[in-house]
Structure formats: C-alpha cells, structure tokens
C-alpha cells in the first residue's frame, strides 16, 4: 500500500518535471521564428505608429515630432487619393479576371479526359514563379511600339498606328492589369484545383444518378462546394493585388502622369527615391499605416464571412 502511494507520488512529480521540460523545449523551438517575427514584423507594426508622427528625412538628427500633421497632409493630398483610387481600380480589374479565368482553366485541366493536362498546367504556371520585376521590364518591350502586341494589332488592322501601351495614360492601367492577370492566373488555377480535388466523388455520382446534366452539376454541386475555398482565394488575391509593387515599379514607375501610381509606389517615392527631394520617412509611414488598415479591414470582413460559411480557412490550425 505504502509502496503504491509513493510510486504515484514520484510518478506525478516526474510527470510535472517532464512537462516543465517539454514546455521549455517547446519555447526553445519556437523562439527562433519568434525572433525573426518580432524583429521584422512585430517591431515594424509597433514603431510605424511613432514614425508616422515624425517629420524625418532619415537622419537621426532630423527627427521632429509633429503629431498627426502627416495624416492631415496625407488626407489633403490629391496624389495620395489618386494612388489610393488606382490601387482599388487595379484590384477591381485583376481579382475577378484572375478568379474566373483560373476557374475555367482549372475545370478544363482537371478533366481526366484532357490529354497533356499536366503540360498545360506547367506552362500556365511558369509566369508565377518568375521574377515580377524582370517580367515587368520585358513587358515594356513586348507592349511597346516595336513589340509583338502592336505588331499583331497592326497586322490585323485593329490599329492604324502603334500604341506604346504602358506609356499611354489611357492604356497604361488596362495594360498593367492584363499583364498582372497573365502572371497570376496560374497560381489561382492551382488554388482552384486544390478545391476541385477536395470535392467528394459521391456528390457527382449522386447527381449523375439523379440525371443532372453538366451545367446543373456545375451550378448545384461544384460551385457551392468551391465557395469556402473561393473566399480564401479571393482574399489572397485582394491582398496580393493591393500590395502590387514590383511590376508597377518596373513597367511604369507609377506613370505616365501618375496614371498607374498605386499606394506602394507612392510610399516608395516619398521614403526612398530622390525624385521628391529629401526623403520623408514619417510621411511615407503615415501613408503605409493608412493603407494597411484598409487591407486589414478587408481581411477582417473576409474572416467574418468565412466563419459564417463554415469554411476551413488558412488561419485555422486546430
């Protein structure tokens, strides 16, 4: 009797000491990631609020606290609102196109009856893995006056004289949207394929037995089943298109005449470029905060919608 009691006791104390040890190990294991998070994501989130209240050209000695005046100036700057508006035009142009074209391609490529499906999938995916800034530079030629796009349009008599698409204020935004969609459709196709492959075969069999045709099956089975993953894909696209920088910077640098100036190029211009004279890091931080809040609001709305539709989202872990 006494033997069992002491044995449980030692067992218990042994257990709590191993538990403590495991907790320690666990924290040891998550600390490196935590450090990289804290330095390069956590700290920026905190300190940006302070930076945004500074008048600051980058040198330590030049810092002066100016309160909310950067924000005031920002709200009154028509160029900022132009960039803000352009970011949303860019989003509204790219996201639906990407989603629809990619879904269409995913349905095609997913069909077991299509030969060479994996070849098509690979080809459509290639632009996704290539460097956006380099694509941007190459596209300046391809959509330029001597490039292939003009060549074909002239040959087909659609155009009378060449248009330098990315340098024409009327066409630059449209062209940037088309090129961005071209680059990212492959990624969306992979997302949709993941969704399609998650749909249970039984549902299709049941629909087949009930005599549903292809179109009915698509609208009553495929589409509703894809809805939860579709919301996640939409959010990834919205966030991705709102923070576009590399391609815009290399294709148009926000021009011509600010026609493609988005918030990220606006911020860059004030923070790191010499175009505007002395850098204004505080002002640029205010713009960054203002815009990031917009993205976060979108994310929150999506998470709420997602919860309502009972989706398995990216943020879900257990």
């Amino acid at each position: 009797m006494s033997y069992t009691i002491s044995s449980t006791r030692t067992k218990r104390s042994y257990r709590s000491s191993t538990n403590r040890k495991i907790t320690l190990w666990c924290w040891l294991f998550i600390t490196p990631n935590l450090i990289f998070y804290a330095l390069f994501q956590g700290w920026p989130i905190l300190v940006n609020w302070y930076y945004s209240m500074l008048n600051w050209s980058g040198l330590e000695s030049s810092q002066t606290f100016v309160g909310l005046s950067n924000y005031k100036e920002l709200i009154l700057d028509t160029y900022f609102w132009n960039a803000y508006k352009n970011s949303f035009i860019f989003m509204a142009g790219t996201v639906p196109l990407q989603l629809i074209i990619a879904l269409f391609l995913a349905l095609l490529v997913n069909s077991p009856r299509l030969k060479f499906a994996s070849v098509y999938r690979t080809i459509i995916f290639i632009p996704v893995v290539t460097t956006a800034s380099i694509i941007g530079i190459i596209m300046v030629y391809i959509w330029g006056a001597d490039g292939a796009v003009n060549y074909i349009l002239l040959r087909l008599n659609i155009l009378e004289r060449p248009i330098n698409f990315l340098a024409d204020p009327k066409w630059a935004m449209f062209t940037a949207i088309i090129i961005f969609v071209w680059k990212n459709v492959g990624m969306n196709m992979i997302y949709w394929l993941a969704g399609l492959q998650g749909i249970s075969k039984d549902l299709y069999e049941a629909a087949d037995i009930d005599g549903a045709n292809k179109i009915q099956t698509f609208f009553y089975i495929t589409l509703p089943q894809l809805l939860p993953i579709g919301l996640v894909i939409t959010l990834l696209n919205v966030a991705g298109s709102l923070k576009v920088f590399d391609m815009i910077k290399t294709m148009t640098n926000g021009g011509p005449f600010f026609a493609t100036d988005v918030v990220s190029t606006y911020i860059y211009r004030y923070a790191f470029s010499s175009e505007m004279g002395m850098p204004r890091l505080g002002y640029a931080s205010a713009a960054a905060i203002f815009f990031t809040l917009t993205i976060v609001i979108f994310a929150v709305i999506q998470v709420i919608v997602n919860k309502r539709t009972n989706a398995k989202g990216v943020t879900k872990i257990e």
Binding site: K21, W25, C26, F29, I30, P32, N33, L34, F36, Y37, L39, F40, Q41, I45, V47, N48, Y51, L108, K115, Y120, T122, I123, F125, V129, T130, T131, S133, I134, I137, I138, M139, V140, Y141, I142, D146, A148, W182, I190, Y191, A194, G195, I233, A239, K243, F245, K249, A271, F272, L281, A284, I289, F291, T292, I295, V296, F298, A299, V314, T315, K316
Partner: protein
Amino acid sequence: MNRKIGWTLIHIPLILLSFLWIYPFLWMVSASFKTDTEFFSNGLRLIPASFRLDNIKRAWNVANFEQYFMNSAIVTAAVILIVVVITATCGYALGRYSFPGKKIFIAILGASMFIPLEFSMIPIFKLIKEMGLLDSLLGLILAESGGGHVLFVLLFASFFRQIPKELEEASIIDGCNFLQTFWHVGLPLAKPIIGSVVIMQFVWTWNSFLLPLVLTLSSPENRTLAVGLYSLQGEHVVDWTGIAAGGSIALVPIIVIFILLQRYFVDGMAGAVKG
C-alpha cells in the same frame, strides 16, 4: 465519336493560350542571342540567326551579372537554410505539443499575415541600418528571413501532428531527448514538407525585389539579379539585347528548378488554401 472530336478540338485554344503564356520567355531568350543590328531589323523573330553568346558574356562580365548572380545565390541559399530551420522547429513544437502561450503565439502570427511588406519596409530599413548591416549581404539575408512564415509553420505543424505518438515514445525509451527525437524521428519524416518549403522560399527570395532594392540603394555591389536588371533599365539608352541576356541569366535557373521540383511547389501552394 463527336465527343472525341470535341476533346481534340479543345487543344487548339489551349495551345494558343500556352503560346501566349510562354511567348515573353521565348522572346527574351531569343533576343539575348541577337546582335543589335539583328534585333532592330528582326526584333520579333523567335529564332535568332545564330546562337552567339556575346550578349550573355557582356551581361555577365561588363554589366556585373556575375556578381549579381552570386549575390542572389548566396542570399537565397542562406535564407532557405534559416527559414527551414526556424519553421520546422516552430511547427514541430506547435504541432506535437500543447504548452502555455501556444494559442497566443498562433494568434499573433496569424493576425499579421496580411501586413504588406510596404508597411514594414521603413522600420526594416531603419533596423538594418541601426544594426550596422545596411549595404551588406548579411543584412539582406536577415531581412529576407524575417516575418512570421505563417504558411510554412502551419504546413509543418499539421504534418507533425499526424505522426503517430508511438514513434516518438520509442525514441524517448531509446534515450533520445526532445531535440534528438525531432532530429532523428520528426525531421526525416517531414521531407515532403521540407521540399515544399525549400522550393517556395527559393522562388520568393530569388524573385524578391523591394527589399534588395531598398537595402542596396547605396551599395551596387550587393544587388541581386532582380535589382541589377532594373538598374540596367535605368542607366543608359535602353540596351534591349543586354536586358534580355540579363533576364535570361536570372530567369532560366528558376524556371529549370521549378520544372524539376514543381510537385513540391504545387503541393505547398495548395496547402495554403486548404488549411
């Protein structure tokens, strides 16, 4: 029979589409073989008159692409190593154990997932500067490794959660501690996830533009390929054959690696939306 013809006909638009998708790359590679005269008279032809390597050599030696290539390779390799180590350990702890602070940790990582780099850029720039690492490859490596890596941590965590407890218990009976169990039991099993993380991080770091652009503003010798090519565009009258050659140097490795390892990449991407 009709159906069969239908399925064959569908290849026509798909082939056309595929051509549109690879045309820019074909154009770039072929332009990198052309002489300037050939480029101006025949800029659109996809098959160059001869496969001369003059432009590639010029980009490699004169335009400093040798240096840029080395920088890209060093930065990418170092970042992959760091990221795999920190996310695998983190995912292991989160996936296999529950411990005080776990929930908060996950919530913090998840909450900042949508913070764009543009937002963090100024503080990161300032931080690297204050560490005395501005204009050094080390600074670039650290900054590129920064962030919460939510996607990778979750990929590892959900993988490690599925490993049967018996394997772990066996290794503990064999006298392995936590670290040894992770190293000898967990990590070897996680090879497919490591593959996904390596290829995805490779693509992201190799293609990264804003960070290396900002962190090498005053040190051209530390530019990566993406930034080096951009500076080529800005410097003189646009030298398209040189740009095409530089672009080929930068893009061919990543396309080749992707085609070889695409399964891992696609699995990782799919994991991002499947949760």
